[in-house]
């Protein structure tokens, strides 16, 4: 366990530094778990029109978010290393997790509305789900920008890290949505991945 923390946070010299890293790691994991829970709730609401889809979405939506983050993480951490930022990898991961949590909160806030429309409207429900997803991505990107801007490092380098993180996360998200399709009751452009989006 100690080795894992030292890999993420460097050699921990003092007990207080060690305790700080433990607290940060615990916070990151808590945010990650909450994000998965709120994503599952949105998934349930988005597929509410069909019970099988709703149940499948309970794991599909959190899976898309988790795996896209894991896929994007090596590129983001390599960018941090190449930009020679003083912020630790744990700080960067913390910023990403917090922004994902905020995006998840946006999804959660739309979930009841999406669930109501899933029962009452065949055409507007998927549209509303896509709008709420787009808003969540926008809020997540803005939150990522504000969290990464607080880290140690020069402003242009942090901006580069933000852009790289957002692009890589977006690309990973797009393809994982294609793998997890169907998430909504009607086919969408995102269901075909980047090919579908580019062809539209």
């Amino acid at each position: 366990m100690t080795q894992v923390f030292e890999t993420f946070a460097g050699k921990l010299e003092t007990p207080s530094a060690r305790s700080d890293v433990l607290h940060k790691s615990h916070g990151v994991l808590r945010y990650a778990l909450f994000t998965l829970i709120v994503a599952a709730v949105w998934g349930l609401a988005a597929g509410a029109g069909s019970p099988a889809l709703a149940l499948a979405n309970l794991y599909k939506v959190p899976m898309v978010i988790t795996l896209s983050t894991l896929i994007a993480l090596p590129a983001i951490l390599t960018t941090r290393h190449l930009l020679e930022l003083r912020a630790s990898p744990l700080d960067v991961i913390g910023a990403i997790t917090k922004s994902l949590f905020r995006a998840g909160l946006v999804l959660m806030s739309f979930a009841p509305l999406v669930a109501v429309y899933a029962y009452t409207s065949q055409w507007f429900s998927p549209l509303l789900a896509q709008i709420s997803g787009g808003l969540a991505i926008l809020c997540g990107a803005l939150s990522l920008h504000s969290h990464l801007a607080k880290l140690e490092g020069s402003r242009p380098r942090l901006l580069v890290l933000t852009v790289v993180s957002a692009v890589v996360l977006g690309l990973a998200l797009l393809q994982l949505i294609a793998i997890a399709t169907p998430i909504l009751s009607v086919p969408t452009a995102f269901g075909a991945g980047i090919d579908g989006v580019v062809s539209q």
Partner: protein
């Protein structure tokens, strides 16, 4: 192998990977929680010891003041 089969295998692999990550996150969260709890308990015990030490220092009799009768070296 058809494209549908490849997609099905990818879906299964993704679901299994997600399950693995979920278990890892939950286990790490629990372990870290225990570790933090142990650190907190240790800090409470240390603070209690420090308080007891301070109390003992306050109630112990003060050393006698140096006077002509007990400080032979100075007034000899």
């Amino acid at each position: 192998m058809t494209l549908a089969a490849v997609l099905a295998i990818t879906k299964v692999v993704a679901a299994l990977a997600f399950l693995g990550v979920l278990i890892a996150i939950a286990a790490a969260y629990r372990l870290l929680g225990q570790r933090l709890e142990a650190e907190r308990a240790e800090a409470v015990i240390e603070a209690e010891f420090a308080r007891l030490d301070a109390e003992r220092g306050a109630t112990a009799p003060a050393p006698p003041a140096r006077t002509a009768s007990n400080d032979g070296g100075r007034f000899a």
